[in-house]
Subunit: 381 residues, 2 copies
């Protein structure tokens, strides 16, 4: 039979059971795809709703081999997985997307930056160091980034004077020139194994000034058509260079002089695409499943203008989570809250998001601000 | 704490684990609501993705009592439940929606029709009989309807001559005058316990000529604004008469003389609202959860024009299901298949649906026809 992915014995595996894995399950349930999820945390949000869950460490070779050998297609929801096992599973005939080659080119930021250089993809000037070094600095201020393990604003620090380099982890890192930018943009590219490619509209990310986390994502970005065209072309160039299967979220800076510089990429569903659950014809999670299962791609067009608001844990709150004000925001037009199902909140932990859809982006952005001031993620007293 | 529905110990129960229950889970997962599902079939689609499943007969008093006493809010996905148990559970403080009173007014078609008469809600002329009776017929042709247990075109028959009444079940039924109609329309009304009410746009149902099942649902219906206004007002009148909590799908005929006659209602998510998963700001399943949990209502507006195509089992096919051509329809713009997860197909069994969204209804309807001719639900060889 040809349509193996829709047959009852086809199995999809997901490494990681966080919120991205959980939202991938919306599609696997919709299509009744037998889905396996692996995570070491027995309260992982994606354990609820998968067919088979597997408690195990996704960074462990043996565990990933055991899990991966049970499925037909294997994907990830976080880059921090055992890549050696993925390489071996691919040799054994499992369709692994993104594969080991792509992950190796992405998960280490030094390698990622050098890859951009090799492919003449514009990116901020940088140098690679084995350890933070106070004698080899760039012009202040510059940005220190840990080569491995950075996530959600961790592993990144603005260095204003040599002393700021003290107390940083003694491990490989990059120093990057500070980019004088107007906006941070992102473009998600979808690509399946038969090489079909589509880009989602350019989105604009507004960051929280302190936590270095995205506070709002606006789709479409408030930019002109020329910039939008260039951003989508640049994202396609990056995607072609990686030759990945699955989604690739390409984050970029729009500099004050109008240049686009690639900041970093993620080979999976991405926070900058969450708006698509309500705002696009084919949401990014369905699109990722389409890609990795080698289905035809869905439309990346928007149905309405939308703004996504991240819900992160309030500062000073650690403990069982409460979404204060969630009913208030549900009275606002076009507002859909998403609760990730993590039981404990911590300062700045991603606990959910809210999508606002409206006829135009100005209106959506206004409502998003009301949402932001009405809801708080706190710990139960 | 006020927001009990978003606290971790709030429990929602659903009687019935079919496709409607399964699609309600999209929302309870999105909001991390602890969800219990009861069904006697251990392969019920909604057992996958709920938190607690309970194998039991939803028509059995003891079983429903045991299940219902474990939850805070109880709802249904099919009317054929033990109503006596619901009445008792309500007395014990469980929030049951729709409640026993509403279900008693709806699940028996004779009672339902008499209710319309009492509330001066226009409906086709009818009479009630204890058994099919060949001596007391209406003018031929007319419609026989079983008072209880009819579903998906079963329990309904056009009577062209007295002999057609032979071999019908010996149980309560109604004879209804045949309505000379132009279109069949439906309006879904959402109502929460604080009395907020909203109607979805009027949809148009196109029926399969033989199986008496809906083949396409079009949103918006191809009618003028006057008819649309009258249909929404009539649906609101029906909703107010029932004083229900949850969704109420109101099916009606538009007669050749322009009159609207209520055909029947369903107090739950309904096939005529499936389009809303892709075509509305707030889909009907989220809206039903909002209603029964007494949250504020979401927007019932459409994001795009949409047509829903029902996927039913092909005639002559019984056995393990295969969705032939599903990949072909996935290449069409704005097309989203839904697979219900029933393992066995049978002739005319509802096995899934497909939503088509487009800029206008004419375009969506064209694509829907292509979908219909490209996909077949058959049994594996």
């Amino acid at each position: 039979m040809e349509q193996t992915q829709f047959s009852s014995d086809f199995r999809l595996g997901i490494l990681g059971g966080g919120q991205l894995g959980k939202m991938l399950l919306y599609t696997t349930r919709k299509w009744d795809i037998l889905t396996y999820v692996m995570d070491k945390d027995d309260t992982a949000p994606a354990f609820q709703g998968c067919d088979v869950y597997f408690e195990g460490d996704i960074t462990d070779y043996e565990a990933v081999m055991e899990f991966g050998s049970q499925v037909d297609v294997l994907t990830i929801e976080i880059e921090n997985v055992n890549v050696q096992a993925l390489e071996e599973l691919e040799k054994q005939g499992i369709a692994v997307s993104p594969n080991a080659r792509v992950l190796n080119l992405i998960k280490n930021k030094a390698v990622q930056k050098q890859f951009y250089q090799n492919y003449k993809i514009p990116t901020a000037p940088f140098k690679v160091l084995a350890n933070p070094d106070e004698t080899e600095v760039l012009e202040f201020p510059f940005v220190w980034k840990s080569a491995e393990g950075g996530y959600d604003g961790k592993g990144v620090k603005v260095i204003r004077k040599a002393e700021d380099l003290k107390d940083l982890p003694q491990s490989q890192c990059i120093y990057e020139e500070m980019v004088d930018f107007d906006l941070e943009l992102a473009v998600i590219v979808a690509r399946n194994a038969r090489g079909e490619m589509r880009t989602y509209p350019v989105v604009e990310m507004e960051f929280h000034p302190e936590a270095n986390q995205v506070e709002y994502v606006l789709c479409p970005a408030r930019i002109n058509l020329d910039i939008s065209d260039r951003a989508r072309k640049l994202a396609l160039k990056v995607s072609e260079a990686y030759n990945h299967v699955g989604l690739l979220a390409v984050e970029m800076f729009l500099t004050k002089s109008g240049e686009l510089l690639v900041n970093e990429v993620a080979p999976r569903p991405h926070n900058s695409g969450h708006y698509s659950l309500e705002g696009a014809v084919t949401d990014q999670f369905e699109q990722h499943v389409r890609c990795v299962c080698n289905f035809p791609l869905g439309s990346t067009e928007s149905t309405m203008a939308s703004v996504m608001v991240n819900l992160v844990g309030e500062e000073g709150h650690t403990g069982p989570v409460v979404y204060e004000g969630i009913e208030d925001i549900m009275t606002m037009p076009g507002v859909t809250p998403h609760v990730y199902g993590k039981k404990e909140t911590r300062p700045f932990r991603k606990m959910g998001h809210v999508t606002v859809v409206a006829q135009d982006i100005i209106e959506a952005r206004k409502i998003a601000e009301k949402v932001k001031s009405s809801i708080k993620v706190v710990a139960a007293e």
